[in-house]
């Protein structure tokens, strides 16, 4: 065996000697080539593509960013604000002119209420102004706990949680529950804070036509079909319907009983934004659930702010503890923001007291709303948008000129005309490029219990006069 192997080796060496030189050279080159291929990098292309330091410097030198903000022209309609001197209560002084206030969300007139002021003052003397900390770090005051339990009691729910700013309430509440991959069905007319909450949640968002239950039904059915295709995914996809009680943008009421039926039919949870309806609708001001007589436990989460009817600052969510408690660790605006100044919470408690003591106030408000609603019908050139029960109505141009700017200016002229005659109104403001479904330009007409019948008469005739003068 060994000798045989040796023989082969000898033969090889011999063959090596006998082979022609060109052959050996060729083989040698091939071997070297293989070695080179083995050790060289595969992608040489990129290397040549890489920028040299000098080129980088040039690029840096060359790059010109956009200005931080575009220049705003001096006559931009929303640049110069109307200046209000003095409290914006029943009477309001706008740009030096005292007017009857039809422009503030002070529905129950609690802004100017002495009891509320005194309560805030007492609180100020004990607690100072700021809380100097978030709820978790010594920013929970006895006043906050009291307000939370009072709100829960008022709304007849298990638990309530307060936020220090109205806008942040629903905007924080939605992303606390709805995460990436979950599905939210939302009304097209939903207000801006809902839109921001949805955006922060990164969920799949499906818009249905405003108050159109058939459209919602269609979307839910589509989703059901989708679920049948992928039952495993469907098992972990949470779904929510987000609606407003009384819509900020359209001044009408959501069809809550039908929504609740849908909820159980398709197993979707309902989040209800009641910033306008809380303290307005219902016999005791509990909002749209009371208005329709819907069991409040059927609504998974209700959120509202305390900046309209309550006339303080802040917002709250209420519902079952199973739902609400989750926000104490997951609501960003709750955990990471300083808590509500105690004096504002104290004022809200007093406002709740007043609402509980005298539910008559809601009847008065309803009557005023209805009378304003009926009186404003038939304003020349203007269409009244909303329902009779809504204290926040919109006046929209009957015939749009086609240009939003022109419409806006026309409406502004009407507002100015009324301001001259001591009736304060305001244009409803929107960020035109940010809104998902931009509402048409409108004048806001806000009804409060403080307005007397004569004042309402005066305002209505003033608006009609203005419309006649400006539009025709």
């Amino acid at each position: 065996m060994a000798s045989g192997q040796q023989w082969v080796l000898v033969e090889m060496v011999q063959a090596f000697y006998e082979a022609p030189a060109y052959h050996l050279i060729l083989e040698g080159i091939l071997i070297l080539w293989i070695i080179r291929l083995l050790f060289s990098k595969t992608y040489k292309l990129q290397e040549t593509n890489k920028l040299t330091e000098k080129e980088k410097e040039e690029l840096i030198e060359e790059w010109q960013p956009d200005p931080l903000v575009p220049l705003v022209s001096k006559d931009h309609p929303s640049l110069s604000y109307d200046i209000v001197t003095g409290p914006p209560s029943h009477k309001i002084i706008i740009n030096g002119k005292e007017c009857i206030n039809f422009a503030s969300f002070n529905f129950l007139g609690l802004l100017d209420n002495d009891r509320v002021k005194q309560k805030a003052l007492t609180s100020l003397k004990t607690y100072g102004v700021g809380t100097c900390g978030p709820r978790g770090f010594y920013g929970t005051f006895d006043v906050h706990l009291e307000l939370e339990s009072r709100l829960a009691k008022f709304m007849k729910t298990e638990e309530a949680i307060i936020y220090s700013y109205g806008f942040a309430t629903i905007a924080s509440a939605i992303p606390a529950y709805s995460k990436r991959g979950d599905i939210v069905f939302v009304d097209e007319a939903a207000c801006f804070s809902i839109q921001k909450g949805l955006q922060a949640s990164r969920s799949v968002i499906k818009y249905f036509k405003h108050n159109d239950m058939e459209d919602l039904d269609r979307l839910l059915k589509e989703q059901q079909l989708e679920d049948h295709k992928n039952p495993r995914k469907a098992k972990v996809t949470r779904r929510f319907i987000v609606v407003e009680g009384l819509y900020m943008n359209t001044a009408d009421i959501c069809p809550l009983p039908e929504l609740v039926k849908m909820k159980y039919k398709y197993k979707v949870r309902i989040f209800l934004e009641e910033s306008l309806s809380f303290g307005v609708l219902g016999e005791h001001g509990r909002g749209v659930t009371e208005h329709f007589g819907v069991n409040i436990d059927d609504i998974d989460l209700i959120s509202a702010n305390m900046e309209n009817a309550i006339a303080s600052i802040g917002g709250f969510c209420c519902g079952r503890s199973f739902v609400i408690d989750h926000q104490r660790l997951s609501g960003q605006g709750y955990c990471f923001s300083a808590s509500l100044p105690p004096m504002l919470a104290a004022a809200a408690i007093e406002a709740l007291d007043i609402m509980e003591e005298d539910p008559e106030i809601f009847t008065v408000l309803r009557e005023k709303c209805t009378s304003v609603y009926h009186a404003l019908q038939g304003t020349p050139g203007l269409k009244l948008v909303g329902v009779p029960l809504s204290p926040s109505l919109h006046l929209q141009l009957e015939r749009s000129s086609g240009s939003r700017d022109t419409d806006q200016r026309t409406l502004r002229r009407i507002v100015d005309y009324c301001l001259e005659r001591e009736v304060a109104l305001t244009i409803a403001r929107y960020l035109e490029k940010e809104e998902r479904y931009l509402p048409p330009p409108t004048i806001r007409v806000l009804v409060t219990v403080e307005q007397t019948d004569e004042e309402i008469q005066k305002a209505v005739s003033c608006i009609k006069e203005a419309a006649l003068a400006v539009i025709s």
Partner: protein, 554 residues
């Protein structure tokens, strides 16, 4: 590293800055320097580098990290065990349950989502959300609460624990006060205006007092113009989307506050994160961004916005502003500075980090801050040049959709700010700023002497003491409360898992006696619980502390 120094040389940086950038080469995860001190040098042009503000992030011994993980491991195992017991019905579940009618719905929460809350947080949650029933001043009264079911529910006993020293509130300048003379104007405003506004700024919520406040803020900060908003959190989350949008790049410090992150996310801009206060990391990102443009399309970025905080509230570190300004100038980026914790609290006259580093406020494009902390009120501001503020007035989400700031709060801010500025010749404000600086220096150096590992800048009134292990965090907080000292402790997920800490916020209203009491107890508790992890040799106590104590008038 050589490349780094050539990179910055044609910026207007000084040689010192190159050194600091080179030092960053030693940096480890989370931007913590191993071992020795990290040093900041201001690099502003024409300013002498007298200001010297060392920052330290000492690393704990190895065994600490091992024990910390072990601790978490044990409680997690126990958590699984108890979940098992609950599943088989041997242990009662105290959590609120879903209604019977909705059991068929897709579960509201995934089981694992709440594992941490259910099994770890529940055991220790008596250390947070402690309700108080007095002013959040230098000392406060806590409402005593007990739990009969291991923290699942709490019951208020109706008793109060009085005079607990408050080391948790952000009351830096002591403006959380209820002295009737000081609050007279605030009380007047309350009586005149009530507490709400019931409208947004763009509609009819723009009170003349808002405009007055905004002029004052601009004046205070030394910038052209300012705008104020009703909530500090919302100031960030609702204004950043107005400034940047798709096609823009945000470079954000990894430890930025949630409100900044939320604002960045809502804006639709691309977000990239750089290591905490790490200039090397920031420059690398900037350079890459400018050179390679947007991903996929390779179009150049429309603009680049660097977002940093003045003082980081969990770290106690101060943004390395001179270097950031130099970088932003070189790469033509814009700078968004969140001074929530630093405004009023640092700088010789309380003007924040720009003053601390003697920079021109005009070098910072967007100056943001809040009124919650140093001013003892609520709300926030954004200040800068006239174009910026005009744009925000017409395009800020806050101005259009959110209720304006309420008048008593406006008055509180005006009062506090005027006091700090010494408008009517008073010196109370400046005394408080000095007192805070003095307290900070005293407290920090005593802690170092005792052998605690503390993080952050020597001039930062936020003082985190590292406790590391989850068990110690809880024991520490309870032990301190038993000694009538209210502290804030934070752990995972607010901090990295191995870096749980207690955070002390100093206030000008703390007297030397209070601080001494706190330090005395800290020393004892530190020994009891073995919290003194530092391995540094501390030089004998320097003679910086003179015994003259600035007492506040209030």
């Amino acid at each position: 590293m050589v490349r780094t120094s050539t990179m910055v040389l044609n910026g207007n940086l000084t040689v010192q800055m190159n050194q600091t950038i080179l030092q960053n080469g030693k940096q480890r995860k989370n931007g913590h320097v191993n071992g020795e001190k990290r040093t900041n040098f201001p690099a502003a042009k024409g300013v002498s580098c007298r200001q010297y503000s060392p920052e330290s992030f000492e690393q704990a011994p190895m065994y600490v990290a091992v024990l910390t993980y072990l601790g978490f491991g044990i409680v997690t195992l126990f958590g699984y065990f108890r979940d098992f017991l609950r599943a088989v019905g041997l242990e009662k579940c105290h959590l609120a349950q879903e209604r019977e009618e909705q059991k068929e719905f897709v579960p509201m929460y995934q089981d694992f989502e709440n594992f941490y809350t259910r099994n770890l947080y529940m055991r220790v949650r008596d250390n947070w959300n402690r309700p108080i029933c007095s002013l959040p001043g230098p000392a406060f009264d806590l409402m005593e609460r007990v739990s009969d079911d291991y923290n699942w529910t709490f019951r208020l006993t109706g008793k109060t624990i009085e005079n607990v020293i408050n080391m948790g509130s952000y009351n830096y300048l002591g403006f959380a006060e209820n002295n009737e003379d000081f609050l007279k104007t605030v009380a007047d405003k309350t009586l005149q205006y009530g507490v709400g506004v019931c409208s947004s700024r763009q509609e009819v919520g723009n009170l003349s007092s808002h405009e007055e406040l905004e002029r004052l803020v601009a004046d205070f900060l030394g910038v052209e113009s300012a705008m104020t908003f009703g909530m500090g959190f919302a100031t960030n989350s609702m204004n950043i989307p107005a400034l940047v949008s798709k096609g823009c790049l945000i470079l954000s410090d990894e430890l930025n506050h949630t409100s900044l992150i939320l604002g960045a996310r809502l804006s639709g801009a691309t977000i990239r994160v750089f290591k905490h206060n790490n200039m090397h990391s920031l420059e690398k990102l900037l350079r890459e961004a400018v050179c390679s443009g947007q991903p996929r399309t390779h179009r150049p970025w429309r603009k680049i916005l660097i977002m940093v905080e003045g003082i980081y509230s969990m770290e106690g570190s101060v943004a390395r502003l001179p270097e950031i300004v130099a970088l932003k100038k070189k790469y033509k980026a814009y700078l968004y500075l969140d001074e929530a914790h630093s405004i009023g609290a640092v700088g010789p006259t309380g003007r924040g980090v720009t003053e601390l580093f003697r920079l021109n406020p005009a070098d910072v494009d967007v100056m943001m801050g809040t009124f919650t902390k140093s001013f003892g009120a609520s709300g926030g501001y954004i200040a800068g040049n006239k174009e910026l503020v005009n744009y925000l007035r017409s395009h800020s989400h806050c101005a259009v959709y959110a209720t304006a700031m309420c008048p008593p709060v406006v008055e509180q801010i005006v009062r506090a700010m005027k006091c700090i500025m010494g408008v009517d010749g008073n010196t109370v404000g400046i005394q408080r700023i000095r007192q805070l600086a003095e307290n900070t220096r005293y407290f920090r150096s005593r802690l170092k002497e005792m052998g605690f590992i503390i993080y952050g800048n020597d001039s930062s009134p936020v003082v985190p003491i590292l406790l590391y292990m989850p068990g110690k965090v809880v024991a520490f907080s309870r032990a301190m409360l038993a000694r009538k000292i209210g502290v804030v402790v934070v752990g995972f997920p607010a901090t990295p898992i191995t870096e749980a800490r207690a955070r002390f916020c100093l206030s000008a209203a703390h007297t030397r006696a209070m601080l001494d009491k706190v330090l005395h107890h800290l020393n004892e508790v530190g020994d009891d619980l073995c919290l003194k992890f530092s391995r540094r040799k501390i030089s004998p106590r320097p003679s910086l502390f003179n015994e003259t104590d600035f007492e506040l008038d209030s």
